[in-house]
């Protein structure tokens, strides 16, 4: 191992200048080792014979691609049969759910019921899934609310089908090997005379884990489905107002408690520090009718923080809320 000589020191300085876009000496220091690693990585020697071998493989791939096209038709026949089989299994499942495992959640004073339409269950080697699919059943005389409920049900079905498809694709790709568990459940967060909110939570565990949720809202008075944008008056910059309030809370929480970390005002995560909420950020109204903004796991904080929520005080948004 060589000691640093003067010429090496000069080389260091030249390399440091190479590093783009950082502002102070501390960053330079941190990124210097990255540059060193990059240099050594780029110094990996490319064997002279590789180019020809790559060209040969490309030729062979082209040839086999043309052969492959002729067996395409036969292949799609097989896929169709498998899909039909799967559909039958799901239907049988759903009849059973309705008859025996129906989860009826009557809410006092409310006129809607949310039931478990079906539960998709699977266990293949190390892969398992338990995906509950909720369905709103309303005998509300109000046609508007009925229509909104139907829309939400369709949306929910598309969403859970997407989760199921993702699970099946991943499961088939690895033939069930490697730990992977999907768990989807739902709750009715709010159901009063003003609004109805359904929350669907999914936890995917494979090695680490990921948690994310999706919310559906119905305005009972108008019978419309609404998103975060509709909560506020038109042409108001609700994104900025809410985001600034959240930043303030993040700052305060981190100052008060060392164990709390957000991707905000954080040098190490500066590339993805929280800037602002999404146009359709997840939200719900809590029991005090305050707005709560919900982030998925990893969205604005490291994994150990889990899913994080921020309650936006009424004061902050009273001028722009509908």
């Amino acid at each position: 191992m060589k000691k640093k000589t003067q010429s090496n020191y000069i080389k260091d300085m030249e390399q440091i200048k190479e590093v783009k876009s950082f502002k102070d000496a501390k960053e330079m220091d941190d990124l210097k080792y990255m540059n060193d690693m990059k240099k050594e990585y780029n110094d990996i020697i490319i064997p002279a014979a590789l180019k020809n071998k790559v060209e040969e493989s490309i030729m062979k791939g082209k040839k086999d691609n043309m052969k492959k096209n002729t067996i395409q038709v036969m292949k799609s026949g097989i896929i169709t049969a498998a899909a039909a089989l799967l559909a039958i299994v799901i239907l049988a499942n759903s009849n059973q759910s309705i008859a025996h495992a129906m989860k009826n959640i009557p809410i006092i004073g409310a006129i809607t019921n949310v039931v478990t339409f079906r539960t998709y269950k699977d266990k293949t080697k190390d892969f398992e899934a338990n995906i509950e699919v909720p369905k709103i059943e309303t005998d509300d005389k109000d046609e508007n609310i009925k229509k909104a409920a139907e829309e939400v049900n369709k949306s929910v079905e598309d969403y859970t089908n997407m989760l199921i498809e993702q699970y099946e694709t991943d499961m088939e790709a690895s033939e069930g090997e490697g730990h992977y568990a999907v768990d989807t459940s739902y709750q009715v967060i709010t159901d009063n005379d003003k609004i109805f909110t359904l929350r669907i939570d999914t936890v995917v565990a494979m090695g680490g884990s990921n948690s994310f949720s999706k919310f559906y809202h119905i305005d009972k008075q108008s019978g419309n489905i609404f998103t975060l944008k509709d909560v506020f008056k038109e042409n108001t910059d609700y994104i900025k107002v809410i985001s600034e309030n959240i930043k303030k809370q993040m700052r305060e929480q981190m100052a008060a408690d060392e164990s709390i970390t957000y991707f905000f005002e954080n040098e190490e995560t500066k590339e993805w520090n929280f800037e602002e909420i999404k146009v359709d950020q997840n939200f719900y109204f809590n029991k005090n009718e305050e707005l709560v903004i919900v982030f998925d796991k990893y969205e604005v904080a490291p994994g150990y923080m889990g899913m994080v929520e921020f309650t936006i005080p009424a004061e902050a948004i009273k001028d722009i809320i509908n």
């Binding site: 064997p47 790559v54 490309i58 062979k60 991707f263 990893y298």
Partner: protein, 165 residues
């Protein structure tokens, strides 16, 4: 269709060195890395029809390379030699093999993300497509790997060897 095929071919021919380095970071020896690159070239050409969007050619190929490397390792279960410096001889570098050892200390998927981000300068969204993770998972892995690299680096610098160096 012919257009896509030609574009995949061109992309591969102009970037095969990058794919080689990435494969090398997995198997740590020349002949295995060459096998992986050849096989990836073959697969990319054979399956080019499954690629619908031109802007994803690069990420798609990276994904093939990584999956091929992982398959290779799984099937052969070879003892992967840890130290990279064996095949090269530097007269004038002040660096030694410890730098790459830092990298090799990471888990495969973390290392791949570091390589793609800092050495190949891929965007985070593209890395997510390449690895099949969602964006938030990529960010977390990156954050965690940087922390680990930094702390290993600090350990090294404060050790006896590091002080001399």
């Amino acid at each position: 269709m012919v257009g896509m095929r030609k574009k995949v071919e061109q992309k591969f021919l102009s970037n095969y060195q990058n794919y080689y380095r990435l494969a090398y970071s997995y198997v740590k020896n020349e002949s295995d890395a060459m096998d992986i690159v050849q096989e990836s070239a073959y697969k990319a050409m054979k399956e080019h029809a499954s690629l619908k969007k031109e802007e994803y050619i690069s990420t798609w190929i990276y994904r093939i390379v990584i999956n091929t490397a992982l398959d290779y390792i799984r099937k052969n279960k070879k003892e992967i030699v840890g130290i990279m410096g064996e095949e090269k001889s530097y007269e004038d570098t002040y660096m030694n093999f410890d730098m790459m050892d830092l990298l090799n200390n990471l888990e495969e998927d973390d290392r791949t993300i570091i390589i793609l981000r800092f050495f190949e300068e891929e965007k985070l969204e593209d890395i997510a497509r390449i690895t099949g993770d969602n964006l938030n998972t990529v960010k977390t892995k990156l954050y965690r790997s940087l922390k680990k690299l930094k702390s290993n680096m600090e350990d090294f610098e404060s050790s006896e060897i590091g002080k001399v160096w």
